[in-house]
């Protein structure tokens, strides 16, 4: 098999994974708008190249930690639509038996240690997973996903200090989508994000988070270096979220203009641009790409239908899993 062929496979896999995330989110949003989904949720649309570019180089044994905006990471790390939609709808067959929901979706079978509803809450967990791997002589690498807003949590600096001191195999992947809820990053982050990591002796990088190949190339290099004991690393990935902060954040012109949104969507869409590149390079025809889109659409539709019909957890579940060995009455 020549290099070109292998790459082509990887490229198409990345394309498909990005589409899967986008389609998952569109379906999730529909479920919310049609009042079929309990609670609310945060859409990853627009940021697909980040999760996919990075997770493409991870093995199943590698770990990630995720955020409140976690569907993208979950899909990219290998999760199935069925269990994901079941979880979002609070069904027994969801990844967490319906107990976690969108903000706590976890899939430890694929190395996803979970979304987290505490902003910054998983930074310690990711670093601890890396410590565990190093101590137990395993080769796995952990990627800690978090947003630009999360860099305001002091926990990040505590754990980066320890990761640097102990050379842990962890990559801090900061998805800078320019906003922390309803506030521009510039208003809540002084100085420079990569410089903060560098001040702790951590090599830091910046990359265009809309360019899946650029992300993937950088991730490939850094993950390999992590496995050789050269970690930790910090990456700032500049990106954009298409939807509101959460599905209910509709009227948002007071903090973000429609023009700005339109610009990112039309000029910088990670899927469209990557699709164009694949076609231009002759790696896939527009028809092939369209058929991937269609397949994914069908997959999602079936999963949604399945989840909507799936049973809720039995009442007896409420007192289980508080502890591993006792049931709470």
């Amino acid at each position: 098999m020549n290099a070109r062929k292998t790459n082509a496979e990887a490229y198409l896999r990345m394309y498909r994974q990005m589409v899967r995330i986008r389609v998952f989110e569109d379906n999730a949003n529909q479920l919310y708008l049609s009042a079929k989904m309990p609670g609310l949720t945060h859409m990853y649309s627009g940021q697909e190249a980040v999760a996919v570019g990075i997770c493409e180089v991870l093995t199943r044994d590698d770990k990630i930690t995720s955020t409140h905006r976690g569907h993208g990471h979950c899909v990219a790390k290998g999760a199935e639509f069925k269990e994901m939609f079941c979880e979002l709808l609070g069904r027994a067959e969801g990844y967490c038996g319906g107990k976690g929901g969108s903000m706590h979706i976890a899939d430890q079978s694929n190395g996803n240690l979970g979304a987290n509803a505490i902003v910054g809450g998983s930074m310690g967990i990711a670093t601890g997973a890396a410590l565990s791997a190093k101590r137990l002589g395993r080769k796995d690498v952990t990627v800690c996903f978090f947003g630009d807003g999360a860099t305001a949590q002091g926990l990040l600096y505590e754990v980066m200090n320890m990761a640097a001191l102990w050379k842990l195999p962890v990559i801090y992947a900061c998805e800078n989508n320019g906003y922390s809820e309803y506030t521009k990053t510039a208003e809540i982050a002084a100085g420079s994000l990569p410089a903060r990591a560098e001040a702790f002796g951590i090599e830091a990088f910046k990359v265009d988070g809309q360019d899946v190949l650029a992300v993937n190339k950088l991730a490939e290099r850094l993950v390999a270096r992590c496995r050789k004991g050269e970690g930790p690393f910090f990456i700032q990935l500049d990106t954009y979220r298409y939807h509101g902060h959460h599905v209910g954040d509709i009227n948002r012109e007071y903090y973000r203009s429609k023009d700005e949104e339109a610009l990112w969507k039309t000029e910088r869409d990670p899927i469209v641009n990557f699709g164009r590149w694949l076609a231009a390079e002759g790696l896939a025809t527009p028809e092939e790409l369209a058929s991937i889109d269609a397949e994914v659409g069908a997959e999602a539709g079936a999963a949604v239908a399945y989840a909507l019909a799936a049973p809720f957890p039995d009442a007896s579940q409420v007192g289980r899993h508080v502890f591993t060995d006792m049931i709470v009455a």
Partner: protein, 331 residues
């Protein structure tokens, strides 16, 4: 009387106190233009400017600490903590610093700050956005703890909190933000440490806090159908706690239930129930009943989540058993 939402009542309380006292300011995440995710503070930044309605980075320990220092030096900060669950992040600054500074300094330093946050489940927000953690702060000497159960109380208690020279933690019920209640146009304050008898009754005393007051009221209606007259008491603040009003009631009714949305074990129901059991010992015809939230992290799935909190039906059922002396089956 006009009716306004709890959200509006809180907004009014802050605006009135900020107009009255220039040393009051408010600090938290997305409190200014956004007016918080619950839109409780909409309009305040327009009147008071970003100098007094201060948007912060996502640094709860940090801005809680800033508030302590500001309070020691002539300001009266109101901290907006978006979810009560984030209390865990500010515990050191709240409990090791704010709560103790006055005592440790022998009365020289004062920390007049208000921490506004919320409680309450059943919003399908899962385990990290649904907790009712007021028992934790009530355990720490030096903190006052207020639990309004209506728009009326929310306004009056918050105004009192802002004028108090001590750190006060006030919990709003998230589910109540859009609920309306009569609130006078004229200014009023609600004193701390004075419980309110919301409904008189001769058969059983129900002490209910915050979100559980409405549950208790609905339970009382159910009980009434069975000819049982429940008296409902809302303590309004749990530190200080007005045991006199509660004890006077229980000594009359001879029976008591305590209903609170925090986890039952090691929570608020334990404190109030044990004080009643001790001090009304010779008046009790039945064991004091505690009804708190289940001792489980709040599950996401609606079918499970709804099982974890007290409901009018579960409270009424317990009341019925208590009054009829059939408790053995419940315990």
């Amino acid at each position: 009387m006009r009716e306004i939402t709890l959200s509006k009542a809180v907004n009014e309380a802050i605006a009135e106190e900020m107009r009255r006292d220039p040393s009051v300011f408010l600090i938290g995440e997305d409190v200014a233009e956004a007016g918080t995710p619950f839109k409780v503070l909409s309009g305040l930044v327009e009147e008071f400017g970003t100098d007094r309605i201060i948007d912060t980075p996502i640094s709860e320990p940090g801005f809680m600490g800033l508030a302590v220092g500001a309070a020691m030096t002539g300001s009266r900060p109101i901290v907006d903590l978006m979810f009560g669950d984030f209390l865990f992040l500010v515990m050191d600054q709240l409990c090791n610093q704010a709560a103790k500074a006055h005592y440790m300094s022998g009365g020289k330093l004062k920390v007049p700050l208000v921490l506004r946050t919320n409680l309450g489940a059943t919003r399908r927000s899962a385990a990290q956005h649904s907790q009712s953690l007021h028992a934790l702060v009530a355990h720490i000497p030096g903190l006052k703890v207020a639990l309004p159960s209506s728009a009326y109380e929310a306004k009056g208690l918050l105004k009192t909190a802002i004028r108090d020279d001590n750190p006060v933690v006030i919990f709003e019920d998230k589910l109540m933000y859009q609920e309306k209640a009569p609130v006078p146009e004229e200014e009023y304050l609600i004193p701390f440490g004075k419980a309110e008898v919301l409904r008189p009754g001769r058969d059983i005393t129900i002490v209910a806090t915050s979100s559980m007051v409405q549950v208790a009221q609905k339970a009382a209606v159910l009980l009434e159908r069975d000819g049982i007259a429940a008296e409902i008491i809302d303590p309004r603040t749990i530190v200080p706690l007005d045991m006199e009003t509660i004890l006077a009631s229980v000594r009359r009714t001879g029976r008591a239930m305590v209903v609170d949305e925090g986890h039952q074990s090691f929570g608020v129901t334990a404190e109030i129930a044990s004080r009643i059991a001790e001090r009304a010992f010779y008046h009790l015809d039945a064991p004091v009943q505690r009804i708190g939230a289940m001792d489980v992290p709040v599950p996401f799935s609606p079918v499970l989540e709804d099982m974890t909190v007290p409901t009018p039906e579960s409270v009424a059922e317990r009341g019925r058993l208590t009054v009829r002396g059939e408790l053995f089956h419940a315990a």
